[in-house]
């Protein structure tokens, strides 16, 4: 037992969270199962959206953990166990990917031989967009992520038990290469799983857009979890408004990056006005979807931007929580907006939400959060032998 092992009060708090998450998750999954027998096509669509969002937290958690190993910074030391616990759900997400695999025929039109036979563009893309290669790629992505997770998490926990070296140096090294692999695998994975829903369309910034979205969500999760733990020792004695301020600035930075990436894509495609590109935005700004698009602009950018400008909001747990909760919810809607309009399949764009969309989010998200809190509870809340821990604590007490 180390100095930062959760105290009974923290354990009880996390247990209540776990229990609630598990109940929601089981109910959500049960509803999904029922929905599968009623409307399997809708089930796959709803599941894909939920999968992409929660998978984004797991993979983004891994990326932010690695980022902090490379750059250092007190914020990351305080957030380490939170991002590691999120990343620890990657094996779960590999299981949750299976419905996407089973639903491929229903989700992706390029899997239909008759559609491809009539479509010269899909024929040219066939060396990439074919079922076998899709499986192989998914296996490679998950192989890389799980391997990185094993190293990053394993060494971090070994550092807790045995002391900083050699793990600290190893973590720095593997994280630098790991970030490179993260960006590449994320780009191709998002091409496979989301972009190819509309197989004619392409955008070179897509992977980076997903990266920005994951950054927003992961920092929202960090701030929500950390402020939740602030009531308890030892977090209450260590994490100060200085750390929250740093995390808030990073949240703010990712909100701006997210907006920047999305605006860049929008302006370039709008301005080019090419028949092969604009349908993507036409499908997302008509038939009711424009409300979501404008909502994203305001609630995912303008309002959080304006509120997070304030130093006071970033430093005050009670004030920052509503903003990051909004961002978290808006990112779910953003992923929905990226994926769901593709299902109109050439028909006129028409906004609709199915009850399965909610059920899938609750099912996947409930189980995700249950496992997240379980992992958070099972290990010290701060990395005990982290070389920068003392400096990070010190950082919070001055300024």
């Amino acid at each position: 037992m180390t100095a930062y092992t959760p105290t009974p009060e923290v354990a009880a708090y996390l247990d209540s969270k776990r229990q609630r998450a598990l109940i929601i998750g089981v109910l959500g999954l049960a509803a999904c199962a029922a929905g599968f027998f009623m409307d399997s096509a809708q089930f796959y669509r709803s599941w894909l959206v939920a999968f992409i969002f929660w998978f984004g937290i797991a993979l983004g958690g891994l990326a932010i953990t690695m980022l902090n190993h490379v750059t250092g910074g007190a914020w990351g030391v305080m957030a380490r166990r939170i991002t590691e616990s999120a990343a620890g759900n990657l094996p779960l997400m590999a299981v949750f990917f299976l419905p996407v695999v089973f639903g491929m025929q229903s989700l992706y039109e390029w899997t239909h031989a008759d559609v491809v036979a009539k479509d010269p563009i899909l024929q040219q893309k066939a060396p990439y967009l074919n079922t076998t290669f899709f499986y192989i790629r998914a296996a490679i992505y998950f192989g890389i992520w799980l391997f990185l997770l094993r190293l990053v998490r394993g060494w971090s926990l070994a550092q807790d038990r045995e002391g900083a070296e050699p793990y600290h140096t190893r973590l720095q090294r593997v994280s630098a290469g790991g970030l490179l692999l993260y960006v590449l695998t994320l780009s191709f994975a998002s091409t496979d799983w989301l972009m190819s829903l509309e197989p004619h369309w392409f955008s070179t910034i897509y992977g980076i857009m997903m990266l920005g979205s994951q950054g927003v969500t992961v920092f929202a999760l960090i701030i929500l979890t950390l402020t939740g733990l602030l009531r308890f020792k030892p977090i209450s004695e260590i994490v100060t408004s200085v750390h929250l301020h740093d995390l808030g600035k990073l949240q703010f930075a990712f909100v701006m990056l997210w907006a920047y990436f999305n605006f860049s894509q929008y302006l370039i495609i709008w301005s080019g006005n090419l028949a092969e590109e604009v349908p993507w935005y036409v499908n997302r700004t008509q038939g009711g979807w424009q409300i979501i698009a404008v909502g994203l602009l305001f609630l995912n950018f303008i309002v959080p931007f304006a509120v997070l400008l304030s130093r006071n909001v970033k430093r005050n747990p009670g004030r920052v929580r509503p903003v990051v909760t909004l961002l978290f919810v808006m990112q779910i809607i953003y992923i929905f907006w990226l994926a769901a309009p593709a299902f109109s399949h050439g028909g006129p764009p028409h906004f609709s939400v199915h009850w399965l969309d909610l059920a899938a989010q609750l099912g996947v998200g409930g189980i995700f959060m249950w496992m997240f809190y379980s992992q958070l509870k099972s290990q010290p809340l701060l990395p005990q032998h982290e070389p920068y821990l003392e400096e990070a604590i010190h950082h919070g007490r001055h300024h």
């Binding site: 105290t7 900083a164 392409f202 030892p234 004695e237 920047y260 370039i268 070389p387 003392e390």
Partner: protein, 472 residues
């Protein structure tokens, strides 16, 4: 349960301390450091090497002036641009110079907000470099108008009796605003940062120089209220300059990407141009810093830690740039659009294959050497790498501009672009202009912010280990 106390000497924190090399070496005191930096400016003996360097730079600048003379006398026909490559060296060099400027803004603004102390010794000349690079960049679009004395009349929107306005949907007009804002903010930032040092030089200088520095110091007396206002102004300017790091090169990337030309119309352009700008900017900072610290003996201020950090920034941004090339190539194929596919194929194997191959060598392969600490700590190698990156980033703009244009949609409108001797002379001339300004800056202004460096001397932070009093 016990909490670790700050500054207890546990082995884990010792590792952290060892990994943080000092940003100032040589055991300097306030006085010795001020004298060392100020002496470069206040000496009456200009080193002979300075005259040699300045002479060479001035000669190159004169070559550029000659080329401008020919351009204005004979017209833009002296350049190699023609249909289909209507944008040649002018835009390539414009983007190259603008990109180089970005390191200065990043170092001064973003690293200031991130409280990165290692920025302090390199920020002053990096900001100067930004200003001079923007000046070089601006020459190209202005000269490209053919009649530069009318450029303001064409470029700036103003109400006039002819009811003529520039095209507000054109990114070229956005460029006018983006670059002029950038130039203004950079100038202000640089000048405001210089004021306390001007005050310092005024107090030390003798004769006529005293009046000049006194005039420039705007009445600086170093009172508490002056410092308070100075700090506020710096933070505000840093906040204003931060978006500019992203926005300027984003707008420059729009010059290409909002068109429908395959090779230009790519959504990855904004972030990838910004990364490329920072990449080339840090390369130029290294190109300048490495000889400077050697000739003026500034190794205590521009330490190995600075060089290594800059090498790391180059590696990170270089990887983003390489990612951009990879995504362009992949989606060029994935698009299944015959023009996109042909463009990327032509880039790799067409008549300009050598430029693309050299680009991948300079920006894709060579930066990978910076993964190794041994090479990052080798000053000569870093200088070599900085030159490679400067060349690589110039080639990137050459490849983007020329290979995208020279094969038009119809084979009947295909052509080749060959820069003329006037193109080259003007390009070399801007390098001369840049170096000339830099030599003047080094001679007459303190190239390292003296007062800022004082704040990071070990003496400022805590009592020295022996418990001796802080030196003044």
């Amino acid at each position: 349960m016990e909490l670790t106390q700050p500054h207890s000497h546990n082995p884990a924190s010792e590792i952290a301390r060892q990994k943080r090399a000092e940003v100032v070496g040589g055991g300097h005191s306030f006085g010795s450091m001020t004298d060392k930096i100020a002496a470069i400016v206040l000496t009456s003996k200009t080193p002979i090497g300075w005259f040699a360097g300045f002479g060479l730079a001035f000669t190159l600048m004169a070559l550029g002036l000659g080329s401008i003379g020919a351009l204005l006398f004979l017209g833009t026909g002296v350049w190699g641009v023609n249909v289909p490559v209507g944008w040649g060296f002018a835009i390539i060099n414009f983007v190259w110079w603008i990109g180089i400027g970005h390191a200065g803004t990043l170092i001064s603004a973003i690293l200031l907000l991130l409280r990165q102390q290692w920025r302090m010794s390199i920020s002053r000349f990096a900001e100067a470099m930004t200003l001079f690079a923007v000046a070089c960049a601006l020459l190209f679009p202005i000269l490209h108008t053919g009649r530069p004395w009318l450029a303001a009349y064409w470029l700036l929107p103003y109400p006039n009796t002819m009811a003529l306005m520039p095209q507000f949907r054109s990114p070229l007009l956005w460029d006018v605003f983006a670059v002029s804002t950038y130039g203004t903010v950079s100038l202000l930032f640089w000048y405001v940062g210089l004021i306390p040092d001007f005050g310092n030089l005024r107090d030390k200088a003798k004769g006529f120089a005293r009046y000049i520095y006194g005039f420039l110091s705007l009445g600086w007396r170093g009172s508490a209220i002056h410092w308070h206002r100075y700090e506020t102004a710096s933070l505000l300017l840093a906040g204003l300059a931060t978006p500019l790091v992203l926005s300027v090169h984003t707008v420059v990337s729009f010059d290409f990407s909002v068109s429908v030309i395959p090779g230009w119309h790519a959504t990855i352009f904004p972030p990838y141009f910004v990364a490329g700008a920072i990449y080339s900017g840090f390369a130029m900072v290294l190109t300048i810093a490495i000889p400077l610290r050697k000739f003026y003996g500034l190794e205590d201020f521009i330490t190995m830690r600075h060089l290594q950090n800059m090498a790391k920034v180059m590696l990170a941004t270089g990887l983003i740039v390489a990612y951009g090339y990879a995504m362009e190539a992949f989606y060029g194929w994935y698009s299944a659009n015959q023009y996109e596919r042909y463009m990327i194929w032509n880039r790799m194997t067409g008549p300009y294959w050598w430029a693309y191959a050299a680009l991948i060598f300079c920006n894709g392969l060579m930066p990978q050497t910076l993964w190794f600490k041994k090479l990052r700590s080798n000053v000569s190698f870093l200088f070599f790498m900085s030159i490679i990156v400067n060349i690589g980033m110039w080639l990137e703009r050459f490849v983007i501009v020329v290979t995208s244009l020279h094969r038009d949609f119809l084979p009947s409108s295909w052509g080749m672009y060959v820069p003329t001797v006037f193109d080259w002379a003007l390009f070399v001339g801007t390098i001369g202009l840049f170096s000339t300004l830099l030599f003047l800056f080094i001679r007459f202004l303190p190239m390292i912010a003296i007062f800022e460096m004082r704040t990071i001397l070990p003496a400022t932070k805590e009592p020295s280990p022996e418990g001796t009093a802080v030196q003044s």
